[in-house]
């Protein structure tokens, strides 16, 4: 197999799994949001790798260029990045409210408080 092969996709899998691991194993909410962001970026990298064509230039029209990368995934990912920031902002706002209500942003401590209340 020649060099680039499927390595891009394997890196994507490693990144995606580290994001997933952060989300399910860490108790801190800010860290969970960072994990979600890593997961998101790995999906973006997957799409952008698919759109790359050997010898293709950036998709900006010019007389001299015959071969372009696939512009459609670029458009989809542009939309996804902006939506991702919107969801991140919403999640962080929720964290601020949780801090107000419980005085902590650790999942374990919140579970203990809930148990004591009921």
């Amino acid at each position: 197999m020649e060099f680039p092969g499927l390595i891009n996709y394997w890196i994507v899998v490693v990144l995606m799994m580290s994001g997933f691991y952060i989300v399910i194993s860490q108790g801190n909410f800010v860290k969970k949001i960072v994990g979600l962001n890593i997961f998101q970026v790995s999906v973006f990298v997957l799409y952008i790798s698919m759109s790359k064509i050997d010898g293709g230039a950036a998709p900006i029209l010019d007389e001299a260029i015959k071969n372009y990368s696939n512009p459609l995934p670029h458009v989809l990912i542009l939309t996804a990045i902006v939506v991702g920031v919107a969801t991140t902002a919403l999640g962080l706002a929720l964290i601020v409210r949780i801090k107000d209500a419980y005085g902590t942003i650790e999942e374990d401590e919140i579970i203990v408080q809930e148990r004591n209340d009921s």
Binding site: P4, G5, L6, N8, Y9, I11, V13, V14, M16, M17, S18, G19, F20, I22, I24, S25, N28, V30, K31, V34, N37, I38, V41, F44, V45, I48, S49, M50, S51, K52, I53, D54, G56, A58, P59, L61, Y68, S69, P71, L72, H74, V75, I77, L78, T79, I81, V82, V85, A86, L90, L92, A93, I95, V96, R97, K99, D100, T104, I105, D108
Partner: protein, 181 residues
């Protein structure tokens, strides 16, 4: 990039975690430039590395800067992650090789966009003409999502009379309201 991701897993100081996630975004942006997705790289650098990091730092300023050590066992998450990763890698074996021009994703629609969009829209940047014209409704939907998120943030953190302000304890806020009444 993988190194930054692993460092984020290990570190307990949330400030360094946030800064590392900014570096991670910046590395992603340079990767996009290498993959010839210049518009995406531009957006990732400004929005992903800039605004997200800023928002997270603002959150850290209101909440705490250190993460407490978790008592939970990491065995179950680790095994779930390894199994899922193995399945995903098995899935990639069927994918077309990196850079293949005959991959299914690169065969339809694209030729038409490349040949006609310059004449039809009159903008040399194909990404812009698809974003604003061919997929205009998609972009409209995106702005609706952002609008909804903005409303959500305002409702959660609102500064109206009936809201608890961030940084104040709920009980104090309630007392103040009663005094005003």
């Amino acid at each position: 990039m993988a190194c930054t991701a692993f460092a984020i897993i290990r570190l307990r100081n949330l400030f360094s975690v946030v800064i590392l996630s900014g570096i991670f975004s910046l590395l992603a942006a340079s990767l996009y430039v290498l993959l010839t997705a210049v518009d995406v790289a531009f957006t990732e650098a400004s929005v992903g590395a800039g605004i997200s990091t800023l928002l997270m730092l603002a959150t850290l300023a209101i909440t705490s800067e250190y993460e407490k050590k978790s008592e939970r066992s990491t065995l179950l998450p680790k095994s779930i992650v390894i199994v899922t990763g193995a399945v995903l890698i098995y899935g990639t074996l069927d994918m077309p090789l990196y850079g293949a021009a005959d991959a299914p994703a690169n065969l339809h629609l694209i030729q038409r966009f490349i040949e006609e969009s310059g004449k039809e829209i009159g903008i040399p940047n194909i990404v812009t003409s698809i974003l604003a014209s061919y997929r205009g409704y998609d972009t409209l939907g995106e702005t609706v999502v952002i609008f909804t998120a903005a409303i959500g943030v305002l409702v959660l953190l609102g500064h109206g009379r009936n809201r608890w302000r961030p940084g104040k304890q709920p009980k104090i806020a309630r007392d103040e309201q009663e005094e005003e009444v």
